[in-house]
């Protein structure tokens, strides 16, 4: 998805917030958010709850 299209999608009216309507055809200027929106709640369910802690806690030593 291009940045332009993304920005357009963000400022679009309420249909952009509706997961079901997100997978529309390409007729409109808003480029589809691909099917991903349909699985966001599945992703929500497995995503680490405290993302700040999760991310800051992931520290590695350099490798090859």
């Amino acid at each position: 998805m291009t940045e332009q299209n993304f920005e357009a999608a963000k400022s679009a009216p309420t249909s952009a917030d509706d997961d079901e309507n997100a997978a529309t055809t390409k007729a409109s200027k808003q480029v589809i958010v691909p099917d991903i929106s349909g699985i966001l709640d599945q992703i929500d369910a497995v995503l680490e709850k405290n993302s700040e802690e999760f991310v800051s806690g992931f520290v590695q030593k350099g490798g090859q």
């Binding site: 940045e3 099917d35 699985i39 599945q42 992703i43 993302s51 999760f54 520290v59 350099g62």
Partner: protein, 506 residues
């Protein structure tokens, strides 16, 4: 038949224990490898060791050897520091590489097998980490990625056997622009710009920010686009092992397949002097980063002759050269598959890259990120997006986002679960990985040490150890040695027969 050559992939994984954040990662790694060792070789008193006799990490392909004292201690990969080091029944190496568990897949002869045994490695890590978590009572998590976003990077290395008599400069000249541009489809995506993610944003490649040199021997600092390590693990008069450190880890097997296959084609063209592309980038290191930050493919890479090319144009030039090269040569279905996929991916990148969701890792990752940005109104600095980036590569089937998409039939699949399970326990049949893997399968408790080129057996406690050299990477395959294993002889008989077979060959 040019996607076919000896090749293999080594992956250093990220490792963490969320409830023990201060713990020394080497300890976590040892727990993971040891858990798997205990599973494979229950009740074993002495752990398996790596046979370092033939390692030569200080040999530079440019024809000299670096003094050990001058080399970064991190590069002293030839010393046994007492960490577990396993030859697996599938012919792979599984060990602790400093602070990362590393799975080095067995030698294979083609990109599909490379991707299969690479995927088997992910499953092995998952099993091993699960066992270690249970044994230690602490959750240990594994990530198939290349950076913590805080300045550390670790690699996914590709290895290709190439002809020794090709001047190394030819590899440098032709591979540099290929690798710099390859990330447009091979990259796995990253939230954060700069080695320490000081600038927020998204980039195509996990590794690009960590490359600081054009050519060099190092792998842990001052990383070069073209690595000059010269450890062929084969007849040094005939072969080199090109050690490629520049790529990202891929969750998508299609991208692992394409990465190995397309690169193999480029190598064939180099070996045959069939590439006349004169793409001399003014600053390849800078361009690696510029290409990575340009996911709309507008950036023009500067050439020393004053012209410029976009990354996608460079890839097209290599693809076209490969298509022309293969046009009047007989070639097999797999080679054609690589060419087709390469073309489809480039076409899609230029037109409708949404069709690449589920195939190209960075596109897949970005589509998830964009959906969250939209729904939750997030900026690139938001930790939720960094969490998604990281969790994309979690190798647990029930937590990893790449696997979640696979369950939703959103990803390009290359292998059945059964094929992957088989590759976890069986070696490829067409390289020396076969004899190593089968020896470990059948006589594992008596294999005291191994390397790519050797097996060390303990026949009996009071006799000296028996070392069998395996100098030929294509040798001692199923065709030549399966009958030895089928006999199910006692160890002493088996070793004697194996030795005799090898002596007859050399």
């Amino acid at each position: 038949m040019t996607v076919h050559r000896i090749m293999g992939i080594e992956t250093e994984y990220g490792i963490s224990s969320p409830n023990n954040l201060g713990i020394n990662p080497t300890i976590l790694c040892a727990a993971v490898v040891n858990a798997y060792s205990d599973f494979l070789f229950p009740g074993r008193s002495k752990p398996m060791r790596w046979d370092y006799y033939v390692e030569s990490p200080f040999n530079d392909v440019r024809g000299y050897e670096v003094e050990r004292e001058l080399a970064d201690p991190e590069s002293w990969t030839d010393i046994d520091i007492g960490m577990p080091n396993l030859m697996l029944p599938n012919g792979a190496r599984f060990y602790v590489d400093h602070a990362h568990p590393e799975y080095s897949g067995p030698e294979v002869t083609n990109p599909r097998d490379a991707a299969l045994w690479d995927m088997a490695g992910d499953r092995i890590l998952d099993v091993a980490a699960g066992m270690a978590s249970e044994l230690t009572g602490n959750l240990i998590t594994i990530y198939k990625n290349n950076t913590d976003g805080k300045g550390a990077s670790y690699g996914t290395h590709e290895n290709y056997q190439v002809a020794r008599d090709v001047p190394f400069d030819n590899f440098v000249k032709h591979l540099t622009p290929f690798f710099v541009s390859r990330n447009i489809w091979a990259g796995s995506g990253r939230v954060g710009l700069g080695q320490e993610s000081r600038t927020s944003g998204f980039q195509i490649s996990q590794r690009a920010d960590f490359f600081e040199a054009r050519v060099g021997l190092e792998t842990t600092v001052n990383r070069p686009i073209i690595n000059t390590r010269d450890e062929p693990h084969a007849d040094p008069n005939k072969f080199r092992r090109l050690h490629v450190i520049v790529g990202d880890a891929n969750m998508s097997p299609a991208m692992t397949f394409l990465k190995m296959g397309a690169t193999a084609l480029v190598l064939s063209m180099i070996e045959d002097s069939a590439l006349d592309l004169a793409i001399d980038l003014t600053d390849p290191v800078l361009e690696m980063q510029s290409v990575s930050r340009d996911y709309e493919f507008a950036h023009e890479l500067q050439l020393t002759d004053g012209t410029s090319l976009r990354a996608i144009q460079i890839q097209r030039m290599y693809l076209t050269a490969a298509q022309n090269y293969m046009a009047n040569k007989p070639h097999d279905a797999m080679t054609q598959e690589v060419l087709n996929l390469w073309r489809e991916v480039l076409d899609a990148l230029e037109s409708d890259n949404e069709s690449l969701v589920g195939t190209v890792d960075w596109v897949t990752k970005k589509s998830v990120l964009d959906s969250y940005r939209l729904r939750d109104d997030l900026g690139w600095q938001d930790s939720k997006l960094k969490a998604i980036d990281l969790q994309y590569s979690d190798i647990r089937a029930d937590k990893g986002l790449a696997y979640l998409m696979q369950r939703n039939s959103m990803t390009t699949e290359l292998f059945t679960d059964l094929e992957v399970e088989r590759a976890m326990i069986n070696p490829p049949e067409d390289t020396r990985a076969y004899v190593r893997g089968k020896s470990v399968q059948s006589y594992g408790q008596s294999v005291v040490g191994a390397s790519w080129e050797s097996l060390i057996f303990q026949i009996s406690p009071d006799e000296p150890l028996k070392r069998i050299g395996l100098p030929d990477a294509r040798g001692y395959s199923a065709t030549e040695t399966a009958h030895l294993f089928a006999k199910q002889d006692e160890l002493i008989e088996f070793v004697s027969n194996l030795e005799q077979l090898i002596n007859e060959q050399h």
